[in-house]
């Protein structure tokens, strides 16, 4: 256990400079914006000089870059950064949209797992068969298909032709907030009507977003499973005459361990896919918010949302690494 503790401390130590670096890059993004945002926020051409001055002062725009950086970091940390467009704290606006994105990611994760793992196992067992070729092709098509194309295609099928999904608005939240993620809360309090509404709204975007990852995961599970099947302990079990099904169970246990890392990496892909998916399905999530704030040169929002995306991703990777170290003691080098 001492080793695990050491690993955790070392891993945490690299976490801190990364987060500082992330703030620097997000600041760079804000600092590059050359157009005079103050004038735009104050109301464009007709804005009074006084209003512009006030905004410049409030966002410390006339100060040297390090002062601006400090202002940005501290106000982000305290959650005091005000969105000039909505006059709400930026974090408040983002947090309203956060559950939508998380729920979307949750749905696509479910799809990635329920499609990816079985397909991978089947194609490993039936190696070099038609199914195997199909999975290979599926994986390659998955990484080559633009999210928007698949999204519109499936909207056409399920909404325009069959009318079986809902693609407008945001389903209602359950009465009680426990975790902050509506569908989980609804499940916890047993409000199945709300659960149904959420499923109807989210399953298709979740599938579209997860489509790319499912194929990749299937390929990975296949290779990992094949490797486990050709290892010495499986040879030994074969020699002992253990039935195939039990063999597979043993191999699978070991093959599924590295999947944790792949899922961690896929999470980045999912977050990347959210702006496009949310645009196609008009979901009011963080990705859509990022795009809207860009259209309005709303730099506090751009910075905050980019920063938050990075933090979510970095934290997810941290959790993955820790999980992996707990499951597989060999990685605690």
């Amino acid at each position: 256990m001492a080793e695990l503790k050491k690993f955790l401390i070392r891993r945490m130590l690299t976490f801190i400079p990364t987060v500082i670096g992330v703030t620097l890059i997000t600041f760079m993004i804000a600092y590059v914006i050359p157009a005079d945002p103050a004038r735009a926020w104050a109301g464009g051409e007709k804005a009074s000089q006084k209003a512009i001055e006030l905004i410049r002062q409030r966002y410390h725009m006339d100060e040297p870059w390090y002062a601006q950086y400090w202002f940005l970091v501290t106000s982000l940390a305290k959650g005091e950064l005000i969105d000039p467009r909505t006059h709400n704290p930026v974090m408040y606006d983002i947090m309203k949209r956060f559950p939508v994105t998380i729920e979307l990611a949750l749905f696509s994760f479910v799809f990635i797992l329920i499609i990816g793992i079985p397909l991978g196992i089947i194609s490993a067992i039936k190696k070099d068969s038609i199914i195997d070729t199909f999975v290979r092709f599926f994986a390659l098509t998955g990484v080559s298909t633009p999210v928007f194309w698949l999204g519109y295609l499936l909207i056409y099928v399920f909404f325009v032709m069959f009318r079986v999904i809902n693609i407008v608005g945001k389903p209602p939240d359950p009465a009680v907030v426990i975790t902050g993620i509506p569908i989980i809360d609804a499940l916890l309090i047993g409000d199945f009507k709300t659960v149904n509404q959420h499923v109807a709204r989210y399953w298709l975007p979740g599938f579209v977003l997860g489509f790319m990852g499912a194929g990749v995961l299937a390929r990975f599970v296949r290779n990992s499973f094949l490797e486990a099947l050709s290892s010495d302990y499986i040879e030994f079990l074969k020699a002992k005459g253990v039935p195939k099904l039990r063999l597979w169970r043993h191999a699978l246990k070991n093959a599924l361990v590295p999947i944790v890392t792949v899922l961690g990496l896929q999470f980045g892909g999912l977050l990347s896919g959210t702006p496009i998916t949310e645009t196609v399905f008009s979901l009011p999530g963080m990705g859509r918010y990022a795009i809207q704030s860009i259209q309005n040169i709303d730099f506090p929002a751009i910075v905050a949302v980019t920063f938050l995306f990075a933090i979510i991703y970095v934290t997810a990777n941290l959790i993955v690494d820790i999980l992996y170290a707990i499951i597989d003691p060999r990685v605690r080098y």
Binding site: G21, T141, W149, V280, I294
Partner: protein
């Protein structure tokens, strides 16, 4: 090991011809090269045989060659200019179905095989023109981003210690962002800066206009696709730095590196002449796969309204504009999307096949198979 003992297919003969031609071309530029590199040329031929024996790889190669061909000649063979707005000549020619024939006011007939967009622009021409945009963006991104990543990775892996630590921390920071999110942010803020540069550099502006095959009138919005290129480079180099560092770390323990050091070669020579050629295989695979990734991400960015704006033709942007008329104008979404899929799929199929081919084991087996067939006869 002369080529005659192999049983070759038609494809093998074609690839032989190409490789011979390439070798002679290099020989013309650097006399004596062919003589010195005979084994390298036959190695290339073997790789080509391996590729010829993988149907997905051949399909991928055909798609990739088609993509490059259309990217180069598309704007020239397009039936209409991307700036020809048929709506002015023939009212009602906007959002025309595929296969529509329209008669203009001055009695010319216009044929739109794939339909038109909301300005009455021919979709086929837009797709052909958009191929250039996609090709130029992906090539420049790879040509600038990959060497940058490779050099940093080599330096980090070769020197180790503090240098390694510093470079890898910076790499980690860039990799901390989900790729598309970072690209979005930079593609959003960079255009105005680039615009300033373009305005003061007429030759640079003309060069890029020529590269993208654009009209002089579009010089004002040229900065937007260029911002996408920069954003993609920013997103793409860290991956290469990380891969190359990893392989350099293991390669520098090899005896040939030690020997090179003992002979007294400079660090730079060792890195670029001795380590790099030995680790370039996997990097080539990544480059091929990433071409597909860049085509896809570029389309995604322009779909989100970043990057090229009309009248510049761009596959993602056509879909975005078409989505305003969804589901009526289905052709504006499904056809450009299909083109994106085929391009990205081509690169991915080729990359997947290359991964097998660059593995020395499969190559040996091909050699063996070819010889065996000969003996059976």
């Amino acid at each position: 090991m002369s080529g005659e003992e192999y049983q070759k297919s038609v494809l093998d003969r074609v690839s032989d011809l190409f490789i011979e031609l390439l070798a002679k071309l290099i020989d013309r530029v650097r006399p004596g090269w062919y003589e010195r590199n005979r084994s390298k040329v036959s190695e290339w031929k073997l790789m080509a045989y391996a590729l010829n024996r993988s149907p997905p790889g051949v399909i991928g190669l055909i798609l990739v060659l088609a993509f490059i061909f259309v990217g180069i000649f598309g704007p020239i063979i397009a039936p209409f200019s991307y700036r020809y707005f048929a709506i002015y000549d023939a009212p009602g020619s906007d959002l025309a179905q595929p296969g529509t024939v329209v008669v203009t006011k001055d009695n010319r007939t216009l044929y739109f095989p794939l339909g038109t967009d909301h300005f009455g622009r021919d979709l086929l021409s837009l797709l052909l023109q958009g191929a250039r945009t996609s090709l130029v963006i992906s090539i420049i991104t790879i040509a600038l981003g990959v060497p940058f990543g490779i050099i940093l990775g080599l330096v980090a892996g070769y020197y180790g210690g503090k240098v390694d630590e510093l470079i890898m921390r910076i790499t980690d920071i860039f990799l901390a962002f989900p790729a598309l999110i970072l690209a979005i942010a930079f593609a959003a803020v960079l255009p105005e800066r680039i615009h300033e540069v373009l305005q003061s550099n007429a030759w640079l502006r003309d060069f890029f206009l020529w590269l993208f095959a654009l009209d002089q009138k579009d010089a004002g919005i040229l900065s937007r696709p260029l911002a996408v290129i920069l954003a993609l480079i920013i997103v793409w180099w860290p991956g290469y730095a990380r891969i190359v560092r990893g392989s350099t770390l293991s390669a520098r323990e090899n005896l040939y590196v030690e020997a090179a050091r003992a002979v007294g070669l400079s660090n730079r020579t060792i890195m670029f002449k001795h380590i790099l050629p030995n680790i370039i295989g996997p990097v080539l695979v990544y480059i091929t796969l990433d071409f597909g990734g860049i085509v896809l991400m570029e389309a995604g960015l322009s779909f989100l309204g970043l990057g090229a704006v009309p009248p510049i033709a761009d596959w993602g942007r056509i879909v975005y504009d078409g989505s305003q008329y969804f589901p009526r104008a289905w052709w504006l979404i499904f056809i450009p999307g299909l083109v994106v899929i085929l391009s990205a799929l081509g690169w991915n199929l080729l990359g997947d096949a290359l991964r097998d081919i660059l593995d020395p084991k499969t190559r040996r087996s091909i050699e063996f198979k070819l010889k065996k067939r000969r003996r059976e006869e």
